[in-house]
Symmetry: C2
Subunit: 458 residues, 2 copies
């Protein structure tokens, strides 16, 4: 089984396409027609056209090579639809409908029947019980949700057990000025689960980081093995530290399982975990846009002490380490900025100033520093040190993260200048610190941390 | 000492006003002139006008009753300036300069001298070593930071030990579509500290919630007593769980102290604590725009299961409780929505739908529920149930929080409709859950929780 036909299809069929606005078969078709390739509405009881495309009665009637079928029919009709897909040589299908394994015995039987057909014809099944997936770069909008057409392309692949969470993550990513290489809601994971999608996106050239939303899975080991085998960094958000078992089971038919076991397992297999949707995307922005960190030592440069204290505290608590800067660096900072407020780590310049970028460069070039985090409240007259930051991460071969607060529209231009030169930007001191701490933990997990004893406070 | 002259002055003097762009004396004057009342630039070595106002040589030369002086002079010049303020009958002053108690012995002597003069003349001193304060409603911009003029009025008073954090919080509040009744950076707290500002804003009719950013204080008991005496809800963010002592001391001359003692103290005195700037503002939005919750029992209604599981997990871990709904409510939900996905608590409708608002109403009217939290991914065709939510919180006399993710500009209109009817809106499932948990903890701290045993998981 390959997921190429799912995520990079030559042609798409929308089975159960409907002319009734609000129905999934209508909304899915509305979104699907954004795709560059041919899209066929399939419905035996409709004729005429939908969004300019002529209805056909069955996927078996399509002359084209249809790779992907979007199944917008209710659960009981799904096995027959899938049979026709198999006969037509369709290689991938999305099943949106609920009423399968998450819904009791009858549903489980239905799901087993569907999976059997899929296995027989080697069809990759996304779902059932999912809101689908989106690949923004190719306008492949295989979701019935509104707003999917506005998701911008990016380099993070979102793989969520829940379709709702997949969409929430994608919308949040847009809100942060980022984007996704793909957004996938796995739903019941009939035969496409975490392992298959991780493997696929690890080989996807648009993807530089993979984020997982995990409620629970029966095959934790396979998931962990797939993570370890991935050259692309993976970050995970495991939900369910308290007892949400019954509700979760009713959702995607999965037991949430032991949270601590998952966290320990992920750590052992090189996957940093986080505890919120926004933190998950921040971690991906840091990992996906940075050279791999060599260790957990974070050099912090701040233009305001208060946020610097927040950042220091937070990094230390989350497994990062603020090393002493070398005497050479301290001298250098003193030369750049005589009387600077605080020349230890963090370096606190007291206010934004023209030499701020030089201070950042000095800290970034310090051998004791593996990861650089810069915080600066936006000051109109000063702007951000874009020139100093341009190419800095590549040159010193270390992640360089930037965080700010300010008036959104005033700093929009400077923020996109930073984005243009590949610097990941974060919204609050805490979110930046958490992202830096993920890099620190990632470095240690990857076994590349050397020589520094790090003791987390909690 | 009253802070009326600080936060509601008749006239303002900018001492050390400067014609040199970029200098604090220029930026402070630029911001101050937005104020409706008279603003006088003071500088013995300048003449002519600045922003249309004629320079005077000393505050003692001003015929008007100047309540507030913004001191933009270096530390060594400050004692003389304050002496003149005293002679001129100025009741409040902001000292921006650093170089006082945070900067060693000589600075401590300077600060003592300034405080002595202030005490002699009964002057309230904000700072030294602060970026000042802002009252957006009256355009009273006593900060030299850029962007202060764009901060919108709101009903949260931000009181931060650090001027940088005060600004970060105010900017974040704007970004969230909220605003502040005032934003204050305390700095060295020469004679205006947490207690004085809490008392003042408790009596301020524009303020419905007070948020505190605390690094450390020598007089924790007075702070806690002021919190307990406040009728206005107070939320605190105590920074420094790990060792940031040396850096923090260099900042505002304060020891960060024992974090657990602070947290326990706050809890005992009725102040919920949070662990991030964004959570602090979210907590204020929940507390300041809701009827006081009677207990920690949260009823959750979600249109998507995945975010509902996240919310459930998070509330339970943070001290909230999801009670069983009464049989009457479950029947009612079943009637409204036959075959609804999950009718326990959370109620999961599976998708947004026209009856969504009726389901929310049913849960809000359940006697087992003290706090209502609604989550819904934005769906263009459906919008938000604004009509059902309008006045609901007041009618059932319970907090009703709303959270969503979606395409920002698509949902902007619906979001401001919710804001217009007083419903606090949150950005992610986690942030909404954390805000609901703050309400739950607040209810228990206020001793109004009855009859429900709640055991937090960690």
């Amino acid at each position: 089984m390959t997921l190429r036909q799912m995520f990079d299809p030559s042609a798409v069929a929308v089975v159960g396409a409907s002319t009734t606005e609000g129905k999934i078969g209508y909304e899915a078709m509305a979104n699907a027609t954004e795709f560059d390739g041919p899209v066929y509405p399939v419905n035996p009881s409709s004729d005429g056209r939908l969004f300019g495309e002529a209805f056909v009665a069955s996927v078996t009637d399509i002359d084209d090579d249809v790779d992907l079928a979007l199944c917008c029919v209710p659960a009981p009709a799904t096995p027959d639809v899938l049979q026709e897909c198999g006969e037509a040589g369709v290689g991938a299908a999305v099943i949106y409908a609920g009423g399968f394994a998450e819904a009791g015995e009858e549903g489980e039987r239905l799901q087993a029947a569907v999976v059997e057909t899929a296995d027989q014809y080697d069809i990759s099944l996304l779902g059932p019980n999912t809101s689908g997936f989106v690949v923004p770069e190719t306008d492949l909008l295989c979701s019935f949700a509104s707003g999917a057409e506005k998701l911008p392309p990016g380099n993070t692949a979102v793989v969520a057990q829940s379709g709702g969470v997949a969409h929430a993550l994608a919308f949040q990513s847009r809100r942060q000025g980022r984007g996704v290489s793909a957004m996938v809601g796995l739903g019941n994971r009939a035969n496409v689960g975490f392992t298959e999608t991780i493997e696929y996106f690890d080989g996807d050239e648009r993807t530089d980081a993979i984020v997982l939303h995990v409620e629970g899975t029966d095959d934790g080991r396979a998931l962990l093995e797939a993570c370890r085998a991935s050259d692309t960094p993976v970050v995970a958000y495991k939900v369910g530290q308290s007892d949400v078992g019954e509700f979760a089971e009713s959702h995607t038919g999965a037991l949430t399982g032991d949270h601590e076991l998952y966290t320990a397992g992920f750590a052992q297999y090189g996957v940093p975990t986080v505890d919120a949707t926004d933190a998950l995307l921040d971690a991906a922005a840091a990992l996906g846009n940075s050279p791999a960190p060599d260790g957990p030592n974070v050099g912090v440069v701040t233009a305001q002490a208060g946020p610097g204290i927040i950042i220091t505290d937070r990094i230390q608590r989350a497994g990062g380490f603020l090393p002493e800067l070398t005497p050479e660096t301290r001298d250098r900072v003193d030369d750049i900025l005589p009387g600077v407020t605080y020349t230890s780590n963090p370096v606190d310049t007291g206010r934004p100033m023209p030499a701020f970028g030089d201070v950042v460069t000095a800290v970034a070039e310090d051998d004791a520093v593996d990861i650089v985090l810069v915080y600066e409240l936006y000051e109109q007259a000063m702007g951000f040190p874009v020139e100093s930051l341009d190419g800095l991460a590549e040159r010193v071969d270390k992640p360089v993260l930037f965080a700010t607060d300010g008036i959104e529209e005033d700093m929009a231009e400077d923020e996109s200048a930073l984005a243009d030169v590949g610097v990941p930007v974060f919204e609050t001191p805490e979110r930046a610190a958490d992202a830096a701490a993920v890099l620190a933990r990632y470095a240690r997990m990857q076994g590349s941390a050397e020589g520094t004893e790090v003791v987390a406070d909690d």
